[in-house]
């Protein structure tokens, strides 16, 4: 592969699931983020929301880089998703366990990114699990829905503020694409 190839990991999910925070946890540079004061239904969940994309970069020892892109959380920006996913090596889907219907959110995003998922890999992080009564049961329900779609990706509880949670999720995604990789 060419050293200057533009390879990306895409972070997606609904508003407030922690995409911006997750990218900040991995990026070597302060992430570029385009947040604005929310004016629509998003305003009830967070004051600022990402209106175009988040961008970060993770530098590797040989000079190569992995580009980290976060999609805007609001559905009205989904025209950008196809452009963003070009060169994607995998998708990290962050779901907010405290939203009304996380299963529905998950189905929406895996359908929207079906092409990327089928050609690369997927890992799902379930955030804000401390705010729901039985997060274990919710996780198992999500796994059942995924299995009914012939998918069996890693689904982990994450706190996007905890770097090690996001690292574990990304490592699992890489292994799920190629279990023969040998590091770590």
């Amino acid at each position: 592969m060419k050293d200057n190839a533009h390879y990306k990991i895409i972070f997606t999910g609904p508003v407030g699931a922690g995409k911006t925070t997750a990218i900040a946890a991995l990026s070597d540079v302060p992430p570029v983020t385009t947040e604005q004061k929310a004016t629509d239904e998003t305003a009830s969940r967070k004051e600022l929301t990402t209106t175009s994309l988040d961008y970060g970069i993770m530098r590797l020892e040989n000079g190569q880089s992995v580009h980290l892109y976060g999609t805007p959380g609001q559905e009205r920006f989904n025209f950008m998703w196809e452009i963003l996913t070009e060169g994607g090596i995998g998708l990290v889907l962050l779901l907010d366990a405290a939203r009304e219907n996380p299963e529905q959110d998950m189905v929406f995003f895996i359908e929207a990114f079906q092409e990327l998922i089928s050609s690369t890999g997927l890992a799902i992080g379930l955030s804000r699990v401390d705010l729901v009564e039985n997060a274990d049961a919710l996780r198992l329900r999500l796994i059942e829905v995924l299995k009914s779609r012939q998918l069996n990706p890693p689904v982990f509880f994450v706190d996007a503020r905890k770097k090690e949670d996001i690292q574990t999720l990304v490592r699992a995604m890489l292994y799920s694409i190629d279990p023969g990789i040998t590091h770590g």
Partner: protein, 374 residues
Amino acid sequence: MSQGTFADPVRILLYGFNQRNESMMRQLFRGARWRDCTVVDDASADFAIVDLDGPSPEKIWSAFRKAFPTLFALVVSMQLRHKDNALFLQKPLSMERLRTSVDEIKTYLKQENSQTPTDKVETTDAPALTALDAAHTLATEEDSHLFGDKTEVSFDDKVALGTRMFDPEKYLYGELSKAIEQSRATGKPLEISGSLYGRVLPGAIRILPQENLVEHTLRDIMIRAMSIVRLDSGQLVLQTKEAFAPLQGSVTVNLDAFLWEVAVATSRGRLSKALRMHEPLTLQHWPNMTQYLEVPYSLQISSLLVSSAYTAQELCEQFGIPQRFVFSYLSALNAIGILVSGSSNKTSHTTNDKRPLRRFFNRILERLSLDTAS
């Protein structure tokens, strides 16, 4: 060893590597984390890294010893190859393990160089590599404590293999599993209390099946101790009873995470007898890894078992994963009930597989693992 004075950066000779791997190693030692090391091509080296996975490993080793009779070596290989005046590191190499080994060798070399000639004469009768062994022991103490004996046993040697298995029924692990099963079946909380070495335990464990939680009033070190003492020794006595009153001053943890930790502590690198060494196993789904004590190689093993069925032996031999980690991890997976027998149809995932992004992924993993360690 080099006759010069040992000082940073440590000079490393690469020996026995094929061109591609040597180039990768040189690239690695140029990285930010290896500024204390430099690769040299002559006898000025402080030590050598010798790859014994070439077509004639014994010839490579003989040639190396002929050229560098006293140079200390770090031998790397997929197979166990213990050599004189050398430390062995089993492949697949990870950045962390390589870093640990190089640090151990640096400690050893520094100690050797700081000794006066008189010291050296006085210590001739001492076992070779005492300082290195001590450094190694220190570096791996936690790892050995939790994951047991590092030596690998032959899968054909039934006696040796028997020493790498344990019966969960004889430990807290078995008692806890039964209590959880009973509690879930009845929907009623159960409490485990008892005594260790004749003294009443300074706390108890209460299972809350509805909430999928455990509350307990025991320190982690006590739970670890309870996990490794056999019930049939009479030194650990446990009682399980219904208990509706909450435990005062307790901590609450996820039930599966608690059982997982007890299973890993009990296993100490051994396989639960509830599983068989040669039985193909598969995972129903990934465990919730951010919530559990991580066993080395657990993500790789999970990714393999989610897509195909493998025996413990295949995981060790085909992927070079140390037995103790495979055994501990399979025991933990079995404890939380997501490991099932599977057919042996496999997707090809060998480490020799040439996938276009594999090297790139390795670099990302290396970077993420580095961050985790820092």
